[in-house]
Symmetry: C2
Subunit: 144 residues, 2 copies
Amino acid sequence: MTRTALPGRKKKHSKKRDEILDLIRSTSSHPSARWVYEQLKPLFPRLSLGTVYRNIRTFREDGDLISVGVVQGEERFDGRVQPHPHFICSRCGKIVDIEGSMDKTQGMSEGFIPPDLYVDHRKTVFYGLCGDCREADEKGTTTV
Amino acid sequence: MTRTALPGRKKKHSKKRDEILDLIRSTSSHPSARWVYEQLKPLFPRLSLGTVYRNIRTFREDGDLISVGVVQGEERFDGRVQPHPHFICSRCGKIVDIEGSMDKTQGMSEGFIPPDLYVDHRKTVFYGLCGDCREADEKGTTTV
DNA sequence: GTCTTTGCAAACCTTTTGCAGCTAT
DNA sequence: ATAGCTGCAAAAGGTTTGCAAAGAC
């Protein structure tokens, strides 16, 4: 699902669009739209935030990226599209990829899912404190 | 965590606050703040949306409810606070509780979580189509 | 030339907040 | 009387959208 391009949609090439996807794919920071915008703005002084939002939306519809979720009010994305768990720091919002296969289809048909529900995929997110925030906690130097 | 009441906070009794929590606890619809507001507005004509938001925030800080996540732009809550998986319909946003213990601490220390990350809890969400939306799909009568 | 993409700004929506008045203790 | 709570309206902050200009084919 979400793989079908809209019937009459034929894309034209766009440098900015390419850069947006490349950037998201090249980072492991699980960026927000604003972060992408801020990174690319120096390269493309005429870039606008709306363009970033529009392209990210299209990428998601096309399956070129996935949404990790909304963290502290901002939606965060991941260019690594194969399902995998994430860790999110409850304090600073940092997102870390977790290695593991627990997000595969396995475990989906174990019987506790009502039969009228069609499951397409699952997301697993671990919450807690990242190293930096835990250190700050121990020192009492609350950073965030 | 999120169980500690703020140092100098002593609550006074409030009928509206009680009703808000009771309502959230009594439904399995995993409501949004607005839904709660709309349900209670007839009972309390002077209820304001801000009050609902304020109380829900406090409940979450006190561990009286949990956030399931942001679905179609709205945050959704659950009065069933013990960890359990959820199913979210990608089309209509319906949320269903899933029975299972996969959200317990088990699986958290299986080695694939970097040691500097302190994991407090995890969330598992299944995505797909609920029965109604799947039916609509089959009939071609797209409802949502 | 046609259709897509973009910049810009306004609009949208959910959530938060300031403040004055009200309520519980 | 003193704190906490609420209504109201405004503000905030992220995301979407309308439209005209620019770009791709």
